[in-house]
């Protein structure tokens, strides 16, 4: 089966006044349709950058993609002209952000924002605008000059002129009905009232539900969830996670789930990618990675999860700190903190992501460590 998303050797820098930060270094992974891939890592390891680099949401500059490909449904998104990217977003790739407080526009009512999303999807379904249809095979090699008027017109969303005069009212009522349906889908009890409120009149959990409804209302093939529950308190977090799990069964969408919380990932994801200092150090099916990690960093990370550590005493923690992304150590970026580090770990270039010896064949368990088989075999 063709993977839905294939990220190949993606490297991305942030060029800011203080220097060049290598936010992503040679990131590669695959996502099969219908799967939930979790990305875990500490703060500042590049998870969010990865999530935003896929739909090309990062402003360039300061971000600069050095190399790599992001193949989505057979098309390399990095070679799609910039003005065509809006056609990929929304209906093909949707996104939920971390802070529900900031992710809804404070100036517009929930109805405005939600109906806008529904309208985009309907407009594209109606075939009146060009939609991102990778099946037809785009030839982006011939990059034609950008006609801004045309580019704007393509995604010119307010209801088409015909609908404005005759059935404008009916059209917007249809959108409203659709919007209400999505609010009910995310288990909002009183959608009629909620729809007419402004974001600041809602709680964080409610806003995140609306964000989810908004993303889902466009029926995206791939949903990127960038720490969707991290900013919520624990009970609301549990509710939102349960909701997302239920929705995964209802709305068959592939999800790239970014989180720093191993517990959340364990619950949600099918596959997991562990990130450290801008690169994926281990990738594989969740059960396998959690049971038998093959990278020393994953192992250390799993050891320091509080609920796994039951006896009294000091919580195991990793010595040292996360390296500065502008001054990475040579070779394996983890070697200064690694208990397994030996001389070959230091010279350039460091280890790359390779199948773990001894892991079940076909499971796709890979790790970026010279001694992954050794770590893997440890109890």
């Amino acid at each position: 089966m063709e993977p839905l998303l294939r990220v190949e050797h993606l490297s991305l820098d942030y060029e800011v006044g203080a220097g060049t930060f290598h936010a992503l270094r040679d990131v590669s992974f695959e996502m099969m349709p219908g799967r939930v891939v979790g990305i875990v890592g500490e703060t500042g390891c590049g998870k969010s950058t990865l999530g935003q680099a896929i739909p090309r949401l990062l402003p360039e500059p300061p971000a600069r993609i050095r190399e790599g490909r992001v193949v989505f449904q057979g098309t390399d998104l990095l070679s799609v002209p910039k003005w065509k990217m809006p056609l990929v977003r929304g209906t093909s790739i949707g996104m939920i952000f971390q802070e529900p407080i900031n992710s809804l526009n404070p100036a517009y009512r929930v109805s405005d924002q939600l109906m806008e999303a529904v309208r985009i999807r309907k407009f594209r379904e109606s075939g009146e605008t060009e939609v991102f249809r990778p099946a037809e095979g785009f030839d982006y090699s011939k990059d034609r000059p950008v006609d801004p008027k045309e580019a704007m017109g393509r995604t010119f969303l307010p209801s088409p002129p015909a609908a404005r005069s005759a059935g404008a009212r009916r059209g917007s009522e249809e959108l409203r009905i659709d919007a209400l349906e999505y609010l009910r889908l995310v288990r909002i009890n009183d959608p009629e009232t909620i729809l007419d409120l402004f974001p600041h009149e809602l709680s964080g959990g409610m806003r995140q539900r609306i964000m989810i409804a908004m993303a889902l209302s466009e029926k995206p093939t791939l949903l990127i969830a960038d720490e969707p529950t991290s900013a919520l308190d624990i009970t609301i977090q549990a509710q939102v996670l349960t909701l997302m799990k239920e929705l995964m069964d209802e709305v068959h969408t592939s999800i790239l789930f970014i989180s720093h919380d191993l517990g959340v990932i364990a619950e949600m994801a099918d596959d997991i990618g562990v990130m450290y200092a801008g690169s994926i150090v281990e990738f594989g099916p969740v059960g396998e990675v959690f049971d038998r990690p093959a990278h020393p960093y994953t192992k250390a990370l799993l050891k320091s999860v509080p609920n796994r550590y039951k006896e009294d005493g000091v919580l195991p923690s990793l010595p040292g700190s996360v390296p500065n992304l502008s001054r990475l150590p040579s070779g394996c970026p983890f070697h200064p903190r690694c208990v397994f580090a030996r001389p070959p770990c230091e010279p350039d270039p460091g280890p790359s992501l390779e199948p773990v010896k001894g892991a079940p064949v076909g499971g796709g368990h890979r790790a970026a460590c010279y001694y992954s088989d050794e770590v893997f075999r440890l109890p």
Partner: protein, 341 residues
């Protein structure tokens, strides 16, 4: 406190009531400053070649030798009866003059503000969206140039340098002075629309171009700079990313989602700018011979026409207060989190 129509009405009423003491204070300061700075205005009013007797009778007639405090009480008492005083030299009453002149000034002010909004704000958006690249530098050069130009210089260059080259007339050569009976609002553009007179409309617009451009160009920087800096603050926010991730094109992301939130600070600044535009208007009207209140203010000050000067001050104060009130109300319209209080 809240956002209902009644709350808004209370808010506006409160501001209007507060305006009365402010206006009284302003009149007092202007009155005493004016009278304190001139020892014997009669010497000017009667002219350099008048006999001492004429000067004496002038002093008697206008009561200039009375204590200033009495003159002040007199003026205020008259003002409350609707008598704004007279021009001592021609004897023309102040209020009717101001009432006929102010529409032209408002017309100039509004068209300059209009230019600042339709040119200044999109320029700020373009600059912010391309921050650090050449469009940004170009826009900044443009508005800083306007800002750094003194009003008299910029207006003179436009009036005698650029205007004639483009074939644009000054107000001095109004080609079709309209029939006074047809002057309904005393605003040339509005009048021509009300009269459904196409030729007069074009003529009015053509005459407006230079003075309003002068006024707008010199103050454009404020709108552009505010828009640019608040857009730069808004653009990295999550809800802008949310809008992008919906699949909206750049145009809608910028002008619907980002600009709406950036405009809050721009509107506040434009409200206060409307007040400072009035001080520029005095210079601009004099240079372009615009038949407005600015020119009248200039002449009143030069001829020690106290009543006229005070009339202009009252009028300007009213405009400043209204401009600020409009910007405060717009502030609440733009940001649904604002409550009227």
């Amino acid at each position: 406190m809240g956002r209902s129509k009644i709350d808004l009405a209370i808010f506006v009423a409160k501001r209007v009531v507060w305006f009365i003491p402010v206006l009284l204070g302003l009149i007092t300061i202007t009155f005493f400053a004016g009278h304190a700075s001139v020892r014997n205005p009669c010497a000017v009013w009667v002219g350099p070649h008048a006999s001492p007797d004429t000067v004496q009778s002038c002093i008697q007639y206008f009561g200039v030798n009375q204590p200033v405090w009495d003159q002040y009480k007199n003026y205020i008492a008259n003002l409350f009866q609707g008598n704004w005083g007279k021009d001592p030299q021609g004897g023309t009453p102040v209020l009717p003059v101001i009432l006929t002149l102010f529409p032209a000034t408002i017309e100039l002010l509004v068209s300059a503000l209009f230019l600042m909004i339709v040119v200044g704000i999109p320029l700020g958006v373009i600059a912010a969206n391309n921050s650090g690249r050449w469009p940004d530098h170009l826009v900044r050069l443009f508005y800083l140039g306007g800002w750094a130009t003194p009003a008299y210089l910029g207006a003179v260059v436009l009036a005698i340098g650029i205007g004639p080259v483009l074939g644009l007339p000054n107000s001095s050569d109004f080609s079709s002075t309209p029939d006074p009976g047809w002057q309904i609002t005393h605003m040339s553009v509005l009048d021509s629309i009300l009269r459904l007179d196409g030729a007069a409309f074009v003529d009015a617009i053509v005459h407006l171009i230079l003075p309003s451009t002068a006024l707008a160009f010199l103050n454009l920087g404020i709108a552009t700079r505010m828009t640019r800096s608040s857009m730069l603050e808004v653009l990295p926010l999550d809800y802008v990313k949310t809008a992008r991730m919906k699949g909206l094109s750049d145009f809608w992301v910028l002008y619907k989602h980002a600009l709406r939130n950036s405009l809050i600070s721009t509107v506040t600044v434009l409200g206060t700018t409307a007040g400072s535009l009035l001080s520029w208007i005095v210079v601009v009207e004099e240079i372009f011979l615009w038949p407005g209140i600015g020119k009248y203010a200039f002449e009143s000050i030069l001829s020690y026409n106290f009543a006229g000067t005070l009339g202009v001050v009252i009028f300007f104060a009213i405009v400043v207060v209204i401009a600020n009130l409009i910007s405060d109300v717009l502030y609440g319209v733009l940001d649904p989190r604002v409550e009227w209080r």
